[in-house]
Symmetry: C2
Subunit: 368 residues, 2 copies
């Protein structure tokens, strides 16, 4: 069986590394000849995204998936007319459009920040009046790692927000959620409907980019862990999603509030390569290939630390006990995700000590 | 850094899968265009083994290793004149020649079966008189999985053994060791001399081919575990070996007797991909690349089960809890190693139960 992956970034690379042991072969659609996945399969795609390049890609595999959600739904629909694509267009339509996502949370009674659809400056002014400030304004499509957002903190900001984002209407206005920390839950659903959830991760961001995750999230209450599990199960079932899905949440101290979904393996799930019995990448590939899912149980407390902008010295990282390095084959550039580090330990306390040692040898400590 | 691997079989394939996360790239020397490693790097080599193909391979990488020991030492020496090769020629000279290996065991006071070098029929007759029967006759070079051996059980067999193997003189005659079970220990030595040992494995063979391994070897005494550790450390230090090395041993019930070494990652160490903190493949690559070694501690009881001759149904295997499948991209052929299964469990008892479930769905149960 051949698996075609839209996108040749680090997520595709790690999917392929997880899939070779099943005798799967991989092809990738990516315009960059030196993309992270390039050494691990056949590469298709050109800068113009020509229909011919898509047809060649379509012919190259038996089943398809994607590693980033900002892919044209028209393309996925075109592939889906000929061959299976997992996750399906329904999952993509939700994660590509924040209004659809908000409607989904409401429909499934999953707590989320109160929101309004914004089509005009007047609607924006009314949203400020109704939802209060700070008010977060987001583009409905696109935007990631903090881009495409504006936080209205005073009435003076309303006009500025409109100038900044008004052209991208409709917009989403979201009430500001006061939270103690950010959590995420990664889960996988098989073609037979079976669902397995990894333990929730505690995620720490730095300037809008994920800095590090600790799993299981320290001191998470049983009630919160059960909530997270129930929310992502409801979403997976509603969308009839096949593959890995991630739900980012705010931990308010008195419950969880859903933030956003990603219909794919997720940065906050990278710890699972070493920290869980079966990794998110292996489980995604199992689901896409129609195979039974593996255990999402954690083996021991784990942390994932992103390598952003500059590479650390490999030897300095690997000298730290129970530390694993995952580089993505990228050149250095400020703000770029170049790789990640996984560190495990017998206890959370020892884990925190090891994280400190890692922080000391990282050129970019992010939020560590 | 680019790593060149002599041989493009499953061991090279699993080395590459372990090495990509360090941003390493791989090239392989193998005459077969569809060898297991082919999709994971650049392939060199031709059927005649021409000097030109070796030169091209030499130019393709910065550091070299090998995945099978029956490689020409002249070739390795030729590479070593230009670029680093790990393990070195000294390790290769021992494992390629059973007389050298026996002399090494004697020199390091590692218990092994009494032996004689055989250069003539008379020497063979004298060895039978001195060492008794059964007497195992082996070619000094080549031979694996039970090939190139003859067991003399009566004086009538002496002439037959000579007819069979005499042309391959010198031969090795080895006293028969009565043992309860076979064990192996896999260890790794870094370029800085650091040594780390995996726990000993219990290996069960079927018709001369490894059927399965259980790690840690059940009910192994502390004394035996310490012996195994001391023996392989002595060998690694004596040879100034860099990379993974394996020592196969007989457990006599009253101590261990060394059988043979392999200067490489080993079938009985495949469990470590999921069962140890750092796998034998990652540790071998760390050593070859001059990086600090990873922990060889086991995470939980593990078993490795070989898939020989015929593939099982992938879904049937993966439906079993904590089971992982590693296929080598090979076509079916009787006696051929097509892949292996790793299964882990919280306890040895649960592990044995899972092994039984796996046995029930394997087309070739081997010794299970």
């Amino acid at each position: 069986m051949r698996v075609g992956v839209f996108g040749g970034g680090q997520l595709g690379r790690m999917m392929a590394l997880a899939g070779y042991p099943f005798n799967l072969r991989f092809s990738f659609y990516d315009a960059l000849p030196d993309c992270p996945s390039a050494p691990l399969g056949d590469l298709y795609g050109d800068e113009s995204g020509s229909p011919e390049s898509l047809d060649a890609f379509l012919a190259s595999a038996d089943v398809f998936t994607y590693e980033f959600e900002n892919i044209s739904t028209a393309w996925v629909e075109r592939i889906a007319r000929h061959k299976p694509v997992y996750p399906g267009v329904r999952s993509l339509a939700v994660s590509q459009n924040r209004l659809n996502e908000k409607a989904l949370f409401d429909r499934l009674s999953i707590p989320a920040a109160p929101w309004r659809r914004i089509d005009s400056l007047e609607a924006l002014q009314q949203a400020v009046a109704e939802l209060g400030m700070p008010l977060v304004i987001k583009t409905v499509t696109g935007g990631y790692d903090g881009k495409g957002q504006f936080v209205i903190r005073s009435t003076d900001d309303i006009a500025r927000a409109w100038t900044d984002l008004g052209a991208a209407c409709p917009l989403l206005a979201e009430a500001f959620v006061r939270f103690q920390r950010e959590l995420s839950i990664v889960a996988v659903r098989g073609q037979d409907g079976e669902i397995r959830c990894y333990p929730p991760a505690w995620n720490v961001h730095h300037q809008g980019i994920l800095s590090h995750s600790v799993v299981p999230a320290p001191d998470i209450s049983e009630a919160s862990a059960r909530q997270a599990d129930a929310y992502i199960r409801a979403i997976l079932e509603d969308l009839q999603h096949v593959g890995v899905m991630t739900l980012e949440m705010f931990d308010t101290g008195s419950g969880l509030v859903a933030n956003e979904t990603a219909p794919r393996v997720h940065n906050s799930g990278h710890w699972s390569i070493e920290g869980a019995i079966c990794s998110q990448f292996e489980n995604h590939i199992r689901a896409v290939a129609g195979l039974p899912l593996g255990s999402t149980d954690p083996l021991r407390p784990s942390a994932m630390i992103n390598i952003i902008g500059r590479h650390p010295e490999t030897a300095a990282i690997l000298a730290i006990p129970e530390t694993h390095l995952h580089l993505y084959g990228k050149t250095e550039r400020p703000g770029r995700k170049l790789g990640h580090i996984t560190v495990t330990a017998p206890t959370h306390i020892q884990l925190m000590d090891r994280i400190k040692v890692i922080a000391a040898v990282l050129p970019n400590r992010m939020a560590l």
